[in-house]
């Protein structure tokens, strides 16, 4: 990653490494990514940090043939919208899964992978991807 992006990446380590979002104790709602205020309860909301489930279900998916910079050699790859079962949705790359198993409704689990490593002398960005379980 570019050196000037390190602080932004580092702040998101809890989210990327642990799927840490937050939970409003007032209305018992989970949020991912985390946010400062509960949109339901506003000032009455009480937000606490919370790790999201590490498993989920594919709601929708697509196969990417033209990747953005940094991903152009990884194509074709799959991106999926995943329902974590707590009303939180997450967009993630699907890896380590045979093509025929990637479909709507498939159970997936979180894995830890490199997200970006294009600069040989730069810092490596790690984070979550999912695989069909």
């Amino acid at each position: 990653m570019a050196d000037n992006a390190i602080a932004i990446h580092w702040r998101r380590y809890p989210e990327r490494y642990l799927l840490r979002g937050c939970h409003c104790e007032t209305c018992k709602t989970d949020f991912f990514p985390g946010r400062l205020f509960c949109p339901n309860c506003r000032r009455k909301g009480k937000m606490v940090s919370k790790e999201m489930p590490r498993t989920g279900k594919i709601v929708s998916f697509t196969e990417v043939f033209v990747g953005p910079i940094g991903f152009q050699h990884e194509t074709p790859y799959f991106l999926a919208l995943i329902d974590l079962g707590n009303k939180c949705m997450i967009l993630s790359q699907i890896v380590d899964s045979p093509k025929e198993k990637i479909k709507t409704g498939a159970q997936v689990k979180k894995v830890f992978r490199k997200i970006q490593d294009t600069d040989h002398e730069g810092a490596i960005a790690y984070g979550y991807k999912f695989k069909v379980s």
């Binding site: 380590y13 490494y17 642990l18 380590d96 045979p98 894995v111 830890f112 490199k114 490596i124 991807k129």
Partner: protein
């Protein structure tokens, strides 16, 4: 002194495989002959979004799951590897944050060719036995690289395993009864700073290196414990290929039956720091209570760490969610050109 033992174990082997025949085809070598000579059919290949850190995190997560342990209780994390993603910046801190062990834990990366992971187990044993920590995690993992067309390219695989050492009797799967290390300065294999691929001293890697140290450590630990080869249910030797551990077992008086469950290299290649540890994990997958296990690692440079373990009654209930032999069934074969892409052997990548 406190008793110490393994309270949890985990492992990870990447999904991609390349056969020895496919590598041999590229270099116009006889694949069947090479494969038979090395006692190896195929090797696991880290995909290009996998490295020693990602393998270590997966192994550590599974170890926590097996141990049913709160990651915040981990007091030390050591990652042994010869392919740490950074030359400077620890892998152990990535593992610590990725399993939520921090920030109250001690950490360091270790390097001792193929035996850095078992050295980490010894450090954890010392810390646990002396009551400095309650739980220590040692991971051995590698995404070993062999120079194209070098003998090592046919064997260098990717994978790793992690063990959590603890002291609570009701949590221990296998007690760590004894350990012994046999260490000398032997230049059989090395990689200089900034060099991409390791170099080795050919035939010199056999007798004065692997066998001398493995035999030295094994003889010493047998003498120290008063145990005979026949008293062990399982034995694991470092497995740089499928042949060396078989020769070592035979010469030391162990049978193929004692060796079988922990001999994984023929199926996934030499995972370097992961090699002996994945073998031990595979043994714990099936070990019954009260069995004696001998594990002897070897790292070039050179040294061997020997361990005598005894499984407890917890060994039949505390098992990894998937066995080593099951995990390595999940695979996808790739060609040499795909392998060259994933392992960044092409200059522009």
């Amino acid at each position: 002194m406190q008793e110490a033992g393994i309270v949890g174990y985990g492992f990870f082997v990447p999904r991609l495989r390349i056969t020895i025949e496919e590598i041999a085809k590229t270099w116009k070598k006889d694949g069947k002959k090479t494969s038979a000579g090395l006692g190896l059919q195929e090797k696991a290949v880290a995909a290009w979004d996998e490295d020693t850190a990602t393998i270590s995190v997966e192994a550590a997560r599974m170890a926590l799951e097996t141990a049913k342990l709160d990651s915040q209780k981990i007091g030390a994390i050591f990652v042994g590897s010869e392919s740490h993603p950074y030359a400077v910046k620890p892998t152990a801190t990535i593992v610590g944050d990725a399993i939520n062990a921090g920030p109250a834990f001690m950490a360091a990366d270790l390097e001792f060719a193929c035996k850095a992971g078992t050295a980490g187990i010894q450090v954890c044993m010392g810390l646990v036995k002396s009551d400095m920590i309650n739980y220590g995690l040692s991971v051995g993992a590698d995404t070993a690289q062999g120079k194209p067309n070098d003998a090592l390219e046919f064997t260098a695989g990717s994978g790793g395993a992690g063990f959590i050492v603890g002291k609570e009797k009701n949590e221990i799967i296998a007690t760590l009864d004894e350990t012994f290390s046999f260490t000398t300065d032997t230049p059989d294999f090395w990689r200089r700073q900034h060099a991409e691929f390791p170099r080795h001293a050919g035939r010199f890697t056999g007798e004065p290196a692997y066998f001398r140290h493995v035999f030295g450590a094994t003889h010493a630990i047998l003498e120290k414990t008063g145990l005979k080869p026949t008293e062990f249910s399982h034995v694991i030797f470092h497995q740089p290929n499928g042949k060396f551990p078989r020769i070592a077992a035979k010469k030391l008086g162990f049978t193929e039956a004692q060796l079988k469950q922990g001999l994984i290299t023929p199926l996934i290649g030499n995972t370097y720091s992961g090699s002996t540890m994945i073998g031990l994990a595979s043994v714990l997958d099936i070990a019954k209570p009260g069995e004696k296990i001998l594990a002897v690692s070897y790292g070039s440079g050179a040294g061997s760490d020997a361990f005598v373990l005894t499984t407890t009654k917890n060994s039949s209930t505390k098992r990894a969610p998937i066995s080593v032999l099951e995990m390595i069934q999940e695979k996808e074969y790739i060609s040499y050109s795909e392998y060259a892409k994933h392992r960044k052997k092409l200059k522009s990548l």
